[in-house]
Symmetry: C2
Subunit: 202 residues, 2 copies
């Protein structure tokens, strides 16, 4: 088994997940800056030219960070990071998606449409990036309201993959100069709780 990974938020999500599970997987570094993820040999693994990619011992390929995490959830159920019964599994799915669609998607649009890293890969619309950049604090403010009930983690009492996704959004938000607003006390408390975990050094 090999995990092809490198810089960027999606590889980071998988590395944190593996650390939380205590799983060691041999890793192959894919150099994003050199464009190794767009090289023919890599496109054979993932036609989308994206990392991370998990290659199983029989050659089967799993792409998409959450799909890779779900594979390890199945093979190493403890501690559960996708919930432990029907309702909690639904809640984790819901919160992982809310984090992705509301927050990650908005930050992603800022990056894709403004950062030099992507200028040869798509038609950038800087005005769209700017509108999305202005929306980011509102997305965090929405999450702050949602966390006003004082629960420790996004999906409830237990840390889950949804906290990894949203925590990596906070990390990414900072990288692109959009720190979580200081007055959002509920998000700030949650963020400190999540990013204080040893897995964050993954």
């Amino acid at each position: 088994m090999k995990l092809y990974q490198g810089m960027g938020p999606n590889s980071y999500r998988v590395r944190i997940f593996l650390r939380e599970k205590g799983i060691d997987v041999p890793m192959v570094e894919v150099d994003f800056a050199k464009g190794e993820h767009k090289a023919p040999v890599f496109l054979e693994l993932n036609s989308l030219g994206q990392i991370p990619v998990l290659e199983l011992d029989d050659g089967a390929i799993v792409t998409e960070s959450v799909a890779i995490c779900r594979y390890f959830e199945e093979t190493h159920p403890e501690p559960p990071l996708f919930g432990s019964d029907a309702v909690s599994r639904a809640k984790v799915e819901m919160w992982n998606r809310r984090a992705e669609l509301v927050i990650f998607g908005t930050i992603g649009n800022v990056a894709l449409h403004s950062d030099a890293l992507f200028k040869d890969r798509l038609t950038q619309f800087p005005a769209f990036a700017e509108t999305e950049r202005q929306a980011v604090p509102r997305k965090w403010a929405w999450l702050d309201q949602e966390l006003a009930d004082g629960r420790p983690f996004l999906a409830g009492e237990s840390f889950s993959v949804a906290d990894i996704t949203a925590g990596v959004c906070g990390w990414l938000s900072e990288i692109f100069g959009m720190e979580i607003p200081a007055d959002l006390k509920n998000v700030q408390r949650w963020n400190e709780r999540v990013r204080g975990r040893p897995s964050w050094n993954a």
Copy 2:
């Protein structure tokens, strides 16, 4: 238990899923055109003002179509629509996400940035919509290549939630005047197979 749902692709995905499982759930129609999903009483259920929403008998709320589907997968495991072992569960997750991120996301950008329905809800960038519209046939062509091995469904031999997501992309693509190109024989065959199922009338 109640399912709040209405027009649009995400409610449709859940209705198809329930039909495939043979589950009857009482439904409450939310009139998107009248803006009922943005009314205060609805925002109490889902602060994002989006359908579908599942309300359980104890008042617990599940939002996000895939999270709702996952809840029913847990409570009604047969037939499995999210895979049946570690590898197939990972593959279904991978293909559901590829369908969402590659195809659904692109069509969604066309709709959000060009359709009158959304003009009061976000700043529309018509040039961005046009770039995304031109990209849609390339996304279907990518899927066509992926299906060139002749497998019947996206994640392999079995119909799954990934086929529902991608099939609804085909439906949505047509609504916005972007039919799947006729020369993409693998996608055409797959699309006929999927949309010929009785669940498609849901």
